[in-house]
Symmetry: C2
C-alpha cells in the first residue's frame, strides 16, 4: 500500500555516536519508508558513509547524502523546539513516558502548532547517556517481550517512524478493505442466476433426496456462496464448473450408451 502523504515537518532523527554503518543505512531506509527526511549524526565514526551503509539503505540515498554531522548533541538539536529521547533502560528521571503510539499523537499535535521535533537515539548497544536524556521533554519507550528487550537501533527508528506515519493516514486505512478490482463484483442478479442454475442441476441430480429437507439444505448451499462476495468472473467460473460437471456426467452416460 503506497500512501501519498506529505510529511514536511516530520521529526529529525538524531543518532548519537552510531557505531555500525549498517545501522545508519537501515535507519535511512526506515525513515524513507515512512516519510522522514532529516537525518543527523552526532560523532559517527570516520568514513561512516561506506559501501555497506549504502547497501543497507537499499536506495534511500537522498537521506544519506543530506545527512548532517555534528560534534555535539547541543549543536545537532539547536534549531529544534521539542526533543524526545528513546530509552529502553529505566531512567530515574521524572519525564513523561510515551509509547511510540502516544508519542506519535503528541508529536502530530506539536507539529500542528509549529514545533520542530527531534528524536534522540543512543549508541549501540548501550543507548543514550543521561546527559542527552536530560535534554528531552519526554521519553519514548517501545514495549517489548520480557524475554528479549534488545531492539536493534534501526528497528527502533523504524517502529517510531511507522507510528508517526500512521497518524497521517486517512482514517479509511484503519478499516479492512478488499484488494483487487472492486468494480468486478457480481451483482445479486448474477449470483442468483448461478444459484438458480445450481439448484436446477441439483434437482435433476436428485441431490436433495428427501424433498422436505430441500429448503434447509438449499439455504446452507446459498449461504456458502453468498458469503464469498463473488466477482463477475468468479460467478462465470462457477457456472462453467457447474456446466462442466453436468456435461461430464452426461458424457459418461453418452459413452456408456455408446459402449453398451
Amino acid at each position: 500500500m503506497i500512501i501519498k502523504t506529505s510529511l514536511q515537518s516530520a521529526p529529525a532523527i538524531i543518532l548519537i555516536e552510531p557505531r555500525e554503518s549498517g545501522n545508519i543505512g537501515a535507519t535511512a531506509r526506515a525513515m524513507m519508508n515512512f516519510g522522514m527526511k532529516d537525518l543527523r549524526l552526532v560523532r559517527p565514526k570516520d568514513h561512516w558513509l561506506e559501501t555497506f551503509t549504502r547497501q543497507m539503505a537499499s536506495g534511500a540515498n537522498d537521506i544519506l547524502n543530506d545527512a548532517r554531522v555534528y560534534k555535539t548533541t547541543q549543536d545537532a538539536v539547536s534549531d529544534l523546539h521539542v526533543i524526545y529521547a528513546t530509552a529502553s533502560k529505566k531512567r530515574d528521571m521524572i519525564k513523561p513516558l510515551f509509547t511510540p503510539r502516544s508519542a506519535a499523537e503528541e508529536m502530530k499535535n506539536l507539529i500542528q502548532k509549529g514545533a520542530r521535533i527531534g528524536l534522540l537515539f543512543g549508541t549501540e548497544p548501550s543507548g543514550l547517556e543521561n546527559e542527552d536524556v536530560m535534554r528531552a521533554s519526554g521519553l519514548i519507550s517501545i514495549p517489548t517481550s520480557e524475554d528479549f528487550d534488545s531492539l536493534n537501533l534501526s528497528q527502533a527508528v523504524l517502529l517510531i517512524a511507522y507510528e508517526f506515519f500512521q497518524m497521517y493516514l486517512p482514517s479509511s486505512f484503519a478499516e479492512v478493505s478488499l484488494s483487487g478490482k472492486r468494480s468486478s463484483f457480481a451483482t445479486q442478479e448474477e449470483v442468483e442466476g448461478f444459484l438458480k442454475h445450481l439448484e436446477e442441476e441439483l434437482d435433476m441430480a436428485n441431490f436433495w433426496r428427501v424433498s422436505e429437507k430441500k429448503p434447509d439444505m438449499l439455504q446452507n448451499v446459498r449461504n456458502i456462496f453468498n458469503r464469498i462476495c463473488l466477482t463477475q468472473q468468479e460467478t462465470q467460473t462457477l457456472r462453467g464448473i457447474l456446466k462442466a460437471l453436468v456435461y461430464h456426467r452426461w458424457g459418461i452416460f453418452s459413452k456408456k450408451n455408446k459402449t453398451s
Copy 2:
C-alpha cells in the same frame, strides 16, 4: 519497557525462499522482541544457519534452533487454520486487505476462538508468488510513503509482530505515564512551602516593583512551577537554589560591609 505478556498462540512466521541469512537472523530477533516463537522456512538456501544469521539474531538463538524447514508451502502450513499473506504489490485477487493493525485485531479474535495462524512472507525482493498468496484468507499490506515502498523482509516481520504484540498490552500502556520514581512526587504542601518561601524572598527583593501588579505576576510564577509536577527532591533542590541565591546576595552585602 518490558512487558510480561504471554503469547502462547502467536502466529507462525513462514518465510518462503528467504535468500539472505541476515534477514532470517533479524526476523528471529524481531519475533523474539514481540513474543513470537514459531519460525518456519520454506526452501531456504543450504547452510542458512551460518555465523551471520546468529549475528543478526543477536541472541534470539532459541528461535533459530527451533526453526523448522519445509520443502513446500503446503507442508509448512498444513497444521494451521488461517493464513495471511503479506503483499506490497497490488494483487488482482479478491481478498480482505488488512493493515498490520487491523490484521492484529482480526488475529487476536481468531486466536481467542482457537485458530492457529500463519503469516506468509515472500522471497527478497520480489515477494510472494500468486500461488502462495492464493492460500491466504486475507492480505496484509504495510502502508508506506509513496517515495519509497521497499521494506526489508525482517522489517516487515517486525512491524507486523509489533502490531500483534500491541493487542496484548494492558490498556494503560496506551496512556502517557511518567518515568522515574512516582512515589517521590512532592505533595502540594511541599510545593506550597517552596512557593511561599519564593514569594517572601521576592517581596524582600522588591521584585514586584508595583504592588498592584503582584497578584498577576505571582500567578504567572506559580503557574511555571506548578506545571512541572515537582518531586520532593526537586522541591528541596529549588529551595536550596533559592537559599543559595539569597545567601549570595547577602554575602555580597557582607563583603561590601567588610570592605567599606
